[in-house]
Structure formats: structure tokens, C-alpha cells
């Protein structure tokens, strides 16, 4: 089977490293769209710790040597070259559009967290209605703040997405697609926001290859 790492544009040379489980890398081009793959004798490659890191390592290296890259989600693979060629041909237009969208861009992940504990109200116990009003006001202020921070980062991004949070402490979770030449300015802006809101925890990861902006078809946001 063939394991897929990425769809690329303008790749000069294959990365000089082995793929998952030490398999040599190969390339497969169809009508100007090119895939980076490795061939395996097994029916499917297990997503072990090592395999996940190797998959990501190939994507990092391929990004450095190409003008645009769509990192592939770790999948079960294609039975043979023909089935992958068919997929590339079938989705060529969408892949080309997606490559255009992420060209020379990196991705950052930003999370903003509320303080660990809300300090108890020093004015004493409130009745139920007062408590509800106070709590609602707090939630509104948090949301306004999260929206403001998200907007400031969105203005420095080509595309962005605010991810729904399953936890109330996580006020903001977002991914931002940023042109490489503006990456340093984006990180400066995160640091500025962090200094402006010292009571909140900021977590910024990246620059990443544009994993969160690589989806096509039904997955497209």
C-alpha cells in the first residue's frame, strides 16, 4: 500500500530522509499535482508514536523545499499507485485551489485561558438572581475579550478559524493562517496581547505547516 504524506506544488527534491517505518519516500505527479508517498508491504501503517512523528517530519521537510503544501491526515493508505492517481486526478481542481490558498503560509495555534480559580466575591453571599446576573456579566466580558483578541489575530491572518471550546476556562482556541513574511509580526502581536492581559494564560504554538487549512471537499470550511 501507499502511505500519503502531502500534496505539494513546486517541490525541487524529495526530502533526504526516510518515511514511516524507514520506508523510502517517493513522488507521484498527475496533471501538475504531486503527492509524496512511501510504499509498504503491510496492509496498513499503524499510527504509533514514532509513525506520527515520522509522518510530521516528512511534511516539515517537504514544506521547506516546496512553494505550497497540503499536509495529509494520517490515513489507512491507498492499495496501489493507480488508486492514488485516480484520487489526485478526480480532485485536481480542489487541490489546486487549496494549494493556492495556503501558498507561502504557515499556521499558528493560539489558546487563551481564564485564571484557574475565580476569586470569591468579597462583598458576601448573593441571592440567586444576583449571582446569575454577576455570572452572566462575567461570561459576557469573557466573550467580548475573546472576540477582541481573535479579531486582532484575524486581522494579521489570511484565514482563521475559531474552534468551539468544550471547556469554559478555555476562552479562545483559534488557528490562524499567516503568510511566512508576516509570521514574526503575528508572534509579536500575540506577545503584545499577552502583556495586555497578564491575568490570562496565552499558549501560542507554531509555525506549523498548514494542517488546519488543508481540507478539501466536504471537509472544507
Amino acid at each position: 500500500m501507499l502511505h500519503l504524506y502531502a500534496v505539494v506544488e513546486g517541490l525541487d527534491d524529495l526530502p533526504r530522509l526516510a518515511g514511516v517505518a524507514g520506508a523510502p519516500l517517493g513522488r507521484l505527479a498527475v496533471d501538475g499535482v504531486e503527492a509524496i508517498v512511501s510504499e509498504h508491504a503491510v496492509a496498513e501503517v499503524e499510527p504509533s508514536d514514532a509513525a506520527v512523528l515520522e509522518h510530521a517530519g516528512v511534511i516539515d521537510a517537504a514544506m521547506a523545499g516546496s512553494s505550497a503544501i497540503l499536509p495529509a491526515r494520517f490515513g489507512r493508505g491507498f492499495p496501489d499507485g493507480r488508486s492514488l492517481e485516480e484520487a489526485l486526478r478526480h480532485e485536481r481542481e480542489e487541490l489546486t485551489r487549496a494549494l493556492e490558498r495556503v501558498r507561502r503560509c504557515v499556521e499558528f495555534g493560539v489558546r487563551m485561558l481564564a485564571p484557574v480559580e475565580q476569586p470569591p466575591d468579597p462583598t458576601g453571599p448573593l441571592n440567586g438572581a444576583d449571582y446569575m446576573r454577576a455570572r452572566l456579566g462575567e461570561l459576557e466580558r469573557s466573550e467580548t475579550l475573546a472576540a477582541t483578541v481573535h479579531l486582532a489575530l484575524a486581522e494579521r491572518s489570511r484565514e482563521c478559524e475559531r474552534v468551539a471550546s468544550p471547556m469554559s476556562r478555555l476562552l479562545l482556541s483559534g488557528v490562524y493562517l499567516v503568510p511566512v513574511r508576516h509570521a514574526a509580526a503575528f508572534q509579536d502581536e500575540v506577545r503584545r496581547l499577552e502583556r495586555a492581559h497578564r491575568d490570562l494564560g496565552f499558549l501560542c504554538t507554531g509555525p506549523w505547516p498548514p494542517y488546519s487549512f488543508a481540507a478539501i471537499g466536504d471537509d472544507e470550511r
Binding site: 500519503l4 502531502a6 500534496v7 499510527p47 508514536d49 506520527v52 512523528l53 509522518h55 510530521a56 497540503l70 499536509p71 495529509a72 491526515r73 494520517f74 490515513g75 489507512r76 493508505g77 491507498f78 488508486s83 492514488l84 485516480e86 484520487a87 489526485l88 478526480h90 480532485e91 487541490l95 487549496a98 495555534g109 489558546r111 485561558l113 485564571p115 484557574v116 468544550p166 471547556m167 476556562r169 478555555l170 497578564r198 494564560g201 499558549l203 504554538t205 506549523w208 494542517y211 488546519s212 488543508a214 481540507a215 478539501i216 471537499g217 471537509d219
Partner: protein
């Protein structure tokens, strides 16, 4: 992933985000079936680790604020 608690916080966060991206994000072509391990659980577990780590992070940031 194995023994993330022994790694420095920044590395833990980066690792969680990496695994999330590799298994949950990225392009999927027709014919490449995605893995059943991907999904909400992984992200949620990752976020829980992340939130548990925040008190450590806040301590790291204290000297700056002082």
C-alpha cells in the same frame, strides 16, 4: 503518547497539538480512509492535559509580571 509528564510543558503542548494535527487535520483524498482513533476524544484528552499544565505555566510567567 508515552510519558508526556516527563517532558517540559512547552514540548508537551507542542506534542499534543502535533498529534491532533496529524490525526485530525490535513487533507483527506478520496479512497484514503481516516483512522478511527481520530476524533473528539484525542483533542479532549489533549486539552485536559493542557489545562492541568496551566498552573505550571502561570508560575513560569510570574517573574515577568512582577
Amino acid at each position: 503518547m508515552s510519558t508526556p509528564e516527563r517532558m517540559p510543558l512547552e514540548q508537551q503542548i507542542t506534542l499534543i497539538e502535533l498529534v491532533d494535527r496529524v490525526l485530525n487535520k490535513g487533507v483527506v483524498l478520496t479512497g484514503d480512509i481516516t483512522l478511527s482513533v481520530a476524533g473528539v476524544d484525542l483533542v479532549y484528552v489533549g486539552l485536559r492535559v493542557l489545562l492541568a499544565s496551566v498552573s505550571t505555566l502561570e508560575r513560569l510567567h510570574e517573574p515577568e509580571a512582577a
